[in-house]
């Protein structure tokens, strides 16, 4: 079975990209789909109704959704294998741009919208840096100059990244994403799958329920407004 993790900010067009991929690949592959979201999600029901594929979702609630994604990923692979799928598409909630939910033995797909502004690739650097392929949606809406600058900004973050520009509603340009999915090696050992990069330090006094504002009320990794340079940098 192959695994592709689709990440990207909210409303970037992740589901539109997934829908096009399923539409184009469903004749050749048995596809399973997992959506990770925070409080509500409808994509699994929509895709199951549209394509008749096994689809499910998981809500992270008060947990970081990428954290939730990591927790359930191994179960999800077992579920998809049980469904006799040969391709599992996992769609992230797309919240924290610092997280990069891609794993080894799978394809990392970052989806970003061309109308989100030319500096967006720089802002979501972590999510792009560890991806294999970036899908830029709504490409039909922006001027030629911005298309080119957007692409340069992505390359600034990750020069090796494969970039696909698409109007995901029409499915233009998707052939290169489909090729990347089909050429991605299959999972060889699900128990050996690991995240490609360490997520940000995630345990703090806010995580455990302290709600006071101001560093004076917290301990562990704290930061003041003045001189708030990086107090902690992961890898």
């Amino acid at each position: 079975m192959r695994l592709a993790v689709v990440a990207g900010p909210p409303s970037a067009g992740k589901t539109a990209v997934v829908r096009q991929a399923i539409r184009a690949l469903q004749d050749r592959h048995r596809i399973a789909y997992l959506k990770i979201d925070v409080v509500r999600a409808f994509e699994d029901e929509e895709l199951a109704a549209e394509f008749g594929i096994p689809a499910r979702k998981v809500y992270s609630g008060d947990l970081c959704p990428d954290h939730a994604g990591v927790m359930v990923m191994r179960d999800a692979i077992a579920w998809a294998e049980g469904e006799e799928a040969d391709l599992l598409l996992v769609e992230s909630a797309g919240l924290c741009l610092r997280c990069s939910p891609y794993t080894t033995q799978g394809l990392g797909v970052a989806v970003l919208s061309a109308i989100s502004g030319t500096n967006t690739p720089l802002k979501m650097a972590a999510m792009l840096a560890l991806a294999d392929i970036a899908v830029v949606t709504r490409i039909d809406l922006v001027s030629q100059a911005e298309k080119e600058v957007f692409r340069e900004r992505i390359r600034e973050v990750n020069p090796a990244l494969d970039i696909v520009e698409t109007n995901a509603l029409q499915g233009t340009g998707m052939r290169y994403l489909l090729r990347a999915i089909e050429e991605c090696p299959t999972i060889t050992d699900p128990d050996a799958i690991v995240l490609r990069g360490a997520p940000p330090l995630g345990v703090c006094t806010i995580c455990i329920g302290k709600t006071e504002i101001g560093w004076q009320h917290h301990f562990g990794v704290i930061r003041r407004l003045e001189g708030a340079d990086y107090l902690y940098r992961g890898d």
């Binding site: 109308i115 502004g117 039909d140 100059a145 080119e148």
Partner: protein, 259 residues
């Protein structure tokens, strides 16, 4: 930038929405060509130019294939906007960045690594030939009207992107000088394909592709037979343009207008 000059783009037939094969052998597009795509809403006009834009390989809904110089084009033609020989401008295409006109063009010139100080000014001058509402270098892109934006993007495609093929999707409603656009593009050896409902644009084009049910139904080359209709369309367009200017200027039109 272009390793391989384009002397011909060929569109090979696909299927109609009901699965019937299209009845043309090949539609060939060469530098200087003007082609209009006509037909009712939903007949597949935009899909036709989208096929060209993505260099379809029997992998779009229409099943068409598009060749460049008789072969599948190199991947960078399709994938890298800086190498792409085709510029698509639609009613929806716009600049999102809150920049001035001069900054916007300079950004594009920089990303193309073009070393030519005068190019921004010349692009704005060309854009101003396409629109009656003057575009100033220090105007903000986000404050331009539809006609000004379209004019500037066409001028940018010609001057900065230097794309040999322009695909213009229903740009006539935006109030640009269509004849002038066609004249400049033809003189510059550009091929231009209009998706249009506008009689004047259709009559100004040397070829007309008629769409129906997702397929090309006919390709018409009037070859001078429509000259009478063209003259009439130009005259009417002149009258309407003058009326538009009078109305914009706040005048009452009580006298016969124009030619």
């Amino acid at each position: 930038m272009n390793p391989q000059p384009i002397h011909e783009i060929a569109v090979l037939p696909g299927r109609s929405r009901s699965g019937e094969p299209e009845r043309f052998e090949e539609i060939t597009i060469r530098p200087g060509d003007t082609i209009s795509i006509v037909g009712p809403t939903g007949s597949g006009k935009s899909a036709f130019i989208n096929d060209i834009e993505v260099f379809a390989r029997n992998d779009t809904a229409t099943g068409r294939t598009v060749l460049v110089n008789g072969a599948y084009p190199p991947e960078e033609f399709i994938r890298d906007p800086a190498h792409k020989p085709v510029a698509l401008i639609t009613q929806n295409t716009r600049c999102l960045a809150d920049l001035t006109v001069a900054e916007f063009l300079a950004m594009h010139v920089r990303s193309r690594k073009i070393d030519d100080e005068g190019i921004v000014g010349r692009t704005i001058d060309l854009a101003n030939e396409f629109t009656g509402e003057a575009i100033r270098p220090d105007a903000r892109m986000t404050a331009l009207s539809g006609g000004q934006t379209r004019s500037l993007l066409v001028a940018d495609a010609v001057m900065v992107a230097a794309a040999p093929v322009l695909l213009l999707d229903e740009v006539e409603n935006a109030g640009i000088f269509k004849e002038r656009v066609i004249e400049v593009l033809r003189a510059g050896g550009k091929a231009v394909i209009f998706v249009t409902h506008d009689p004047l644009v259709s009559l100004l084009s040397a070829r007309r592709i008629v769409m129906r049910d997702g397929a090309v139904e006919r390709v018409i080359e009037p070859d001078g037979r429509e000259n009478g209709a063209l003259r009439e369309a130009l005259r009417l367009d002149g009258i309407l343009r003058q009326m538009r200017e009078e109305i914009r200027a706040g005048n009452l039109i009580t006298e016969p207008v124009g030619a």
